[in-house]
Amino acid sequence: MSDRQYMRVRADMPPGHVRTPSYLRGKIGWVERTLGPFPNPEQLAYGLNAQALPLLRVRFSMAEVWGEASENPADTIDAEIYSHWLEPAEAPHAP
């Protein structure tokens, strides 16, 4: 667990085509694996020259995403997040 690379999803709400689910914005998870590069869908959707970006599979605990309302805190959610939506972060709770 100490090797985990934690990332926070930017908490922004920009208009337009975005493939970062809003329920994960502002949440902290750890990198499950790195993929890509893949063209940025926010540019691709509008026919623009899309920048190739790393895509990361980030794993979140249910406790981090849903807090007290989580069904089972240790269950996890993985999502693919483009690198420009992520910033390095500290672990959300004591390891």
Binding site: D75, T76, D78, A79, E80
Partner: protein, 214 residues
């Protein structure tokens, strides 16, 4: 007499079903207009479009079942599938195209379930067209919040010792679950094993069938 009202009944004695004809929707008209323009301008042909529709219709969960059964019986293939599922399934003739495939293995302690909260991303090369419920708002919103309740509604009750891994298919990856191989199938041939692998078991909303149920 039960079948009195002859005006409303078919010769079988049952009421006629109303026709479900209705005017084209806006988007249906748009699809036809764009398709006809693409053909008219020589960008594509009607034959090419039909071929694509036939190719889509020919895909079915039997493809995914063949992949899973092989992973159960061929350790080298299982390792290759977990390492690079796009390449491993392409080698079996199931090309994922521009997307990439990730295989998720269920174990005694891990159960994987796949959802696309943003739309309805689905590994069509292995499973064909997605079921309607996969595209429903209820499945898409509830699976990330209460996967165990959703699983229970599909008839899958997991013990607390099993961790649920939900996979939200948000971008360029597609996911297929490798369900656990049922007990009592040690001597089974790969083709018979494939018959135990259901569509839902590869989405993660089900388990592979037990040999008794096959």
């Amino acid at each position: 007499m039960p079948h009195d009202h002859h005006d409303h009944l078919s010769p079988s004695g049952h009421p006629y079903r109303p026709d479900d004809d209705h005017p084209l929707t806006y988007w249906q008209q748009m699809e036809i207009a764009v398709r006809e323009l693409l053909i008219e301008k020589g960008v594509t042909t009607a034959a090419a479009i039909n071929a694509q529709i036939e190719a889509m219709d020919a895909r079915s969960p039997a493809h995914g079942a063949a992949v899973v059964a092989r992973a159960w019986t061929d350790p080298d293939f299982r390792a290759a599938l977990l390492e690079d599922a796009s390449a491993a399934t392409r080698g079996m003739g199931f090309d994922i195209g521009p997307m990439r495939l990730i295989a998720l293995e269920n174990t005694e302690h891990i159960h994987n379930i796949v959802v696309c909260t943003l739309c309805s991303c689905y590994p069509r090369n292995l499973l064909g067209l997605p079921p309607d419920w996969y595209k429903s708002r209820a499945y898409r919103s509830r699976t990330v919040k209460e996967p165990r309740k959703v699983l229970a509604e599909f008839g899958v009750t997991l013990p607390d010792t099993t961790t649920v891994h939900v996979h939200d298919s948000t971008a360029d990856m597609r996911y297929v679950v490798i369900p656990q191989r049922p007990a009592g199938t040690d001597e089974w041939h790969v083709d018979d094993l494939a018959k135990l692998v259901t569509r839902d078991s590869m989405i993660g909303t089900g388990l592979a069938k037990s040999p008794d149920a096959a």
